[in-house]
Symmetry: C2
């Protein structure tokens, strides 16, 4: 190995992807971009997770039209790691020929969850929980009389990881939640609470050429609305798996998806699948594919938005599990306990380089194993060691 200076090849062979956001999803996207030698430019703030990994940064916000325009000018295609964007500005960029993938119209589904619900409810063969926009407690109580308590109150925009979602057992709880929401200036809607058999997620990529690849569905476990564990294969009956894969195909095609989409699903009694939520980007429920499947979601996302051939989604491992690493209540930094976590055999640790704060997602651990139980137990052990402060 001689250290030979080298320079990059002609720009025409290295398209640049502009990614709105510079958090951990962009950071892992950058790792994938390095392998294929693709150029990335992240729109975000200095010090965010992707910048610590050396990803090139354009300082700015996805809500600032000028920043989006500059990103579009400097890149061949725009894509997203979050939904905090100015959709009108994106639509204007599209109108003047910029490649925005997914399109502003599709991304709108992730920006406005009531719009998402309405769109999905209008599609043939797609089930969603009953829902209704609500502005007053009386409207909410009317909904609850029809569908029963508890109900779920949700913010149309801006919620994630359990924020902007209130499970309301009765009118008292609903009243408090509505006040909280209105005080924060949020528009709200209400949903029927589903009696869950399990929660599932399925990732699908579609390229502008129309190629579609669906990942094997995974089972997800939430705590306080935040994804904590993901297991593959989950305890999902085979017909439900087939149904989830077919649904992902159908949604990707009917929406004209360009890029990657995560579909969170509720499994209710009678093997009934309802769409909980769409994310128009790489997603926490897909992290385990980096080690467990033929193509990481981060590489797949880049391939899809660049209209490159999609990668295979076949599982490489018999079973895999991912557990998030969340900042512990004492505010201590899980990174300081890396050594203990690495003692867990097979633990693939990912730390995002974010400053520690209680309740903040700071990393994840994936384990591939012979059985889902074994994978989950080892991944949990490693995540526990990172979170535990003795």
């Amino acid at each position: 190995m001689t250290p030979e200076p080298s320079s990059h090849t002609a720009p025409d062979v290295r398209p640049r992807v502009g990614i709105v956001g510079a958090g951990q999803l962009a950071r892992m996207g950058w790792q994938a971009a390095i392998s294929l030698d693709l150029e990335l430019l992240c729109l975000g703030a200095p010090g965010e997770a992707a910048t610590g990994a050396g990803a090139p940064l354009l300082e700015g916000s996805g809500r600032d039209p000028a920043a989006l325009t500059e990103l579009a000018d400097r890149c061949d295609v725009l894509t997203f790691e979050h939904e905090l964007v100015d959709l009108d500005a994106l639509a204007r960029l599209e109108a003047r020929g910029a490649l925005v993938r997914p399109s502003a119209a599709v991304l709108a589904l992730a920006v406005d969850k009531l719009h998402q619900r309405r769109t999905l409810a209008a599609m043939d063969g797609i089930s969603v929980p009953a829902f209704a926009p609500v502005a007053t407690l009386a409207e909410l109580e009317a909904f609850a009389r029809e569908h029963g308590w508890p109900v779920v109150l949700k913010a149309r925009s801006g919620g994630y990881d359990g924020r902007g979602v209130w499970m309301c057992a009765d009118a008292g709880a609903a009243d408090a939640a509505m006040r909280e929401g209105h005080d924060a200036g949020l528009e709200l809607y209400v949903e029927q609470a589903i009696d869950l058999v399990a929660e599932l997620a399925v990732l699908v990529a579609r390229s502008p050429s129309g190629e579609v690849e669906v990942y094997p569905p995974v089972e997800t476990f939430q705590v306080d609305g935040m994804c904590r564990c993901v297991v593959m294969p989950g305890r999902i009956p085979e017909p439900v798996t087939r149904q989830a894969v077919a649904l992902a195909h159908k949604l990707a095609e009917q929406l004209g998806l360009e890029g990657l989409m995560a579909i969170e699903l509720f499994l209710a009694a009678g093997e009934r699948l309802l769409v909980n939520e769409l994310a128009l980007r790489t997603h926490n429920t897909g992290h385990l594919h980096t080690e467990a499947s033929g193509t990481s979601q981060f590489e797949q996302h880049l391939r899809a938005v660049l209209d490159l051939p999609l990668g295979i989604t076949t599982p490489l491992a018999k079973a895999a599990a991912m557990v998030n690493v969340v900042g512990p209540p004492d505010g201590s930094d899980p990174a300081s306990r890396l050594q203990e976590a690495l003692r867990v055999p097979g633990a693939r640790v990912h730390l995002y380089g974010k400053s520690a704060r209680a309740g903040r997602k700071l990393g994840h651990v994936t384990v591939c194993a012979e059985t889902p139980e074994q994978a989950l137990s080892l991944a949990r052990e490693a995540a526990d060691r990172l979170e535990r402060h003795d």
Copy 2:
């Protein structure tokens, strides 16, 4: 996903590894460092492969004592991606307390291959091909009379990928090779040419605490002295595999290795294993472990030099193959044919971001599959598509 500004944690929990070199091995080391959120500082030139991936760079050469001193001052531990170093300077840094892993004494084995041969020959239970230093054609001819033609003439230092190695069928060829070597100012030694059944390689990591992990041996295929393909599992009889693993353990322990070492082996008739060459760093023959085994060699290297627990080396895939992507004779850039290569199912493409030049290693492709033949055939197909200029 909200873009939240974050800053890195206290320096004490993020040790910084100084790596001498900034080529593709450092680039892939940087990808591994991102996952564990470790700090890296590469010593090399702007534009080298690692810098294109955003790895922090200290401009300078491993042969410059001042550069090595600055690297040691700015890092917690020094390690290497190549052997073009000033060993005396490294020994002086060690003497004043710097952590150099592997140590200058062990790294000397990679810097001076005659010293390596002598050291290995003196070890119990290690076989190497017969060898002798040669300064004149008469000395070489005397060696050939004893061991037979052909013989292999080698440069003590500076050779790699087939450079500094001459296969000599007779005295005429040896004379020409010696002149070439002496004209280049090289010190030479001669070796017996081994009648090969196969070539193997085995990777071993040892941490300063004494933990040792050996990767499954792989079969390697060279063309013109450059590694072209690696297959796991190779066509290696089980007793030979056990012998190779035991040998790797023994060498790592007897040498007091700190870090990662690749051992290239000759398999001769009668299941006889001879050590061809040691590399005291990550190695081309270990690239496939990134996708095919429990821990990539790049992460293992970082874990070893930081004295973190070593990762498992269990294969994840039934079979895997890696094929190098080499610049084609017409000088065209394989990156311009990425799209065609990504159509090969399961091809994991790695491009190093180096400028294309005929014969230069520019990337590699790994494929995991059910059988070694299937993996090799697909990896070859993808590499061929990258190299082929229609």
